[in-house]
């Protein structure tokens, strides 16, 4: 048998076979051996913290897609802009004493304001003229905007990396009387960083708010009407343009919050900070069923956990490949995503 190993396909299969066995052995041993359960739990926690960042970005994607029926690929870069605004606003703010606690909040508010404005401007300048155009044209425009924003950031803020300030830390004093900075909380044997907790809470709050907003309010109902049929909505007296602008405003405002949280968790800020998380979050949105708000949340968390698991138990190199392979499988089995609605096209 051994001499057949020279044949590439067989060799490949063997390598893969060994690989799979390795993975299974590793997985089982990590579950059963001492400290394995702790390890698994830790990976889940890390996965959720990565996933919560994806989820919060995915909410913005899904919101805009659900209402305006367009993929706003510039979303990731609006996130980057939000993070930069937050970074500079925080740096410029010099609040005295106790008020300093509010500095992060004010910085995030500033970022939300700037991004909301940016989102509405982008919509007015780039997407509105294309409302009647085929969706592919809008898509390409969105990619163009994405590159425009990245390069504008490159010009404005240069490419040298900035380290985002840690917002969610607490200064405390330990038993020895030394000042210590708390970044995480111990739950049993695992530590969960404050950023993760804040991200998950904000994610749930935003998800619930969006669900309430689109389901119960007048504006929300107008949004859903637009998403179902723009022409009919207009006939019913709904201002379609204003509604879509509002959608972009909310989506971009969420992007600013996502940017601040993303960079708090991974504090490296460069003009391309938003692009890879943006793509992953888009994947998460599709995974969960694009257009569905709870779907984005679920998809984001699952994607994060999947990615960490793939890294820990398979290979760091292949983690992205694994994640996207799972996406393909899910779409083959359930083309509308996990929580996506099946809409029958009437002929």
């Amino acid at each position: 048998m051994r001499r057949f190993f020279g044949y590439a396909p067989i060799f490949y299969f063997c390598v893969r076979g060994e690989f799979r066995v390795n993975f299974i052995i590793q997985f089982i041993s990590s579950l059963t051996s001492g400290g394995g359960g702790y390890q698994l739990l830790n990976h889940i926690i890390n996965g959720i913290s990565l996933g919560s960042v994806y989820a919060i970005i995915a909410l913005g994607y899904t919101m805009v897609y659900g209402i305006a029926k367009m993929l706003n690929f510039a979303h990731g870069d609006v996130i980057m802009v939000g993070a930069y605004v937050c970074f500079y606003a925080f740096g410029a703010l010099k609040l005295p004493g106790a008020l300093a606690v509010f500095a992060p909040l004010i910085a995030i508010c500033a970022a939300v304001a700037v991004c909301t404005l940016l989102g509405v401007t982008i919509e007015k300048l780039a997407y509105k003229p294309l409302r009647a155009a085929p969706s592919l044209a809008v898509l390409i425009t969105a990619i163009g905007i994405s590159y425009f924003l990245q390069n504008a950031a490159l010009l404005l803020w240069s490419s040298s990396p900035k380290v985002f300030p840690s917002f969610f830390v607490f200064k405390s004093v330990n038993e020895a009387g030394e000042a210590v900075t708390l970044r995480s909380v111990q739950i049993g044997s695992v530590s969960v960083s404050f950023v993760t907790i804040v991200t998950i809470i904000s994610c749930v709050v935003i998800m619930l708010w969006l669900t309430w907003f689109t389901g119960r309010t007048k504006m929300g109902k107008a949004m859903r009407a637009c998403s179902e049929d723009k022409a009919a909505a207009q006939l019913m007296g709904i201002d379609v343009n204003a509604t879509i602008s509002l959608t972009f405003a909310i989506g971009s405002g969420l992007a600013a919050i996502a940017g601040a949280l993303l960079c708090s968790a991974y504090p490296n800020l460069v003009p391309t900070t938003g692009s890879m998380p943006g793509i992953k979050a888009f994947t998460a949105a599709v995974f969960g069923g694009i257009g569905s708000i709870p779907g984005a949340f679920l998809g984001g968390l699952l994607l994060g956990v999947l990615e960490i698991f793939a890294k820990a138990y398979i290979s760091v190199q292949l983690s992205d490949a694994v994640v996207f392979a799972v996406l393909i499988v899910v779409l083959l089995v359930k083309p509308t995503g996990l929580l996506g609605r099946t809409v029958r096209e009437k002929v």
């Binding site: 390890q39 993929l71 240069s158 490419s159 380290v163 300030p165 490296n268 890294k311 083309p335």
Partner: protein, 436 residues
Amino acid sequence: MKKKLLCALLALSMLFVLAACGGAPAENTDASETETSTPAEPSTPDDTAAPDEQAELSGETETNPEPADTPNEPTPAAPVEGAFKLGGTGPLTGGAAIYGNAAKNGAQIAVDEINASDSAVKFDLRYEDDAHDAEKAVNAYNALKDWGMQISLGSVTSKPAEATSAESFADNIFSLTPSASSPATIAGKDNVFQMCFSDPNQGTASAEYIGTQNLGSKIAVIWKSDDVYSKGIRDTFLEEADAQGLEVVSDQTFSDGNATDFSVQLNDAKTKEADLVFLPMYYEPASLILAQASAMGYAPKWFGVDGMDGILTMQGFDASLAEGVMLLTPFNADSSDEATAKFVAEYEKRFGEKPNQFAADGYDCVYAYCQALTAANATPDMDAATINGLMKEQFTTMTFHGLTGTESGLTWDETGAVSKSPKGMVITNGAYVGMD
């Protein structure tokens, strides 16, 4: 609905193609985007051959399909009459910009000092941006060749340097790189010399240092698998760690696409109770690793290499995270040595920050050239090939005293490697302090 999903998938695949073009740090893509708007320069015959060649050299599988990627408009340097045209490429923008600018600034100070002195040898220095990208580096090198470069400072970082050194060997242009430390930069090229110690040297020295100083017994290594610099150091580190009786309990990688979340790697090190983590990488991912380790409450000893230099000058970096980080570097800005103090003062005056080792290496390169050219009685009207021959002779025989290296001076062997030993430094109160 189906159509929309199809569109989405198409767009996704398109985005990936776009993202893949730039190689890893996606800002490469950006840079090329901006640059396409600058007028294309007359292409040299090398232009077409270059991408394949360098792809082989750097082992990169993704090559940018755009051949007409022209470098930035050169910054016009004040022309000096009867001066040697000295050119170099380095990352003046992008993730590794701290190194490129430091080397360039250091070299500029040396050039200005020499031109202001009564030295017979004068220089005309020109730096081109390569954004730490092999392909851009070759374009930048070609731009320098068109300008009439006679001697070269090679490239600042390893990946681009492997590409440009091959070019400069083929063109018979002598090259002395300040800081490209991979062995492949000089391997098989008799006219490419290094001012810095090479990667194997760093890996071996790090392991030796940890072993002899008893810094840790269980070692974790986190390294960047798609970077020759990182891999080179890690490989020799593991070899020497074995010899030193150090136990490497965790050996984890990352690459460009997933250089944000390090929880898995850190968790592995933590559960295997590593008491020292070795980080053979540049400062950008290292800063993230330090922050994430701190967030998860993991506080081992950290040991970096020269790529860690620059972490303290990152805008907004919390220096307390780097407290106690050890690294190897050949240059100590706090040294009481007179020449160093003068250089540091001048650098601080001009650029408002303490020079790192890259600046010192750049400075030393120019002075080494000055010494060699003077000794060889070279004149600026000689062509690059003639100077090339003279320099090869000089560099293998001379001893040079610079800011970096030991008091006995630096010498080079035939392969172009320098005799220099790294010094251990530790970050204390936000500054580098010598460990010995």
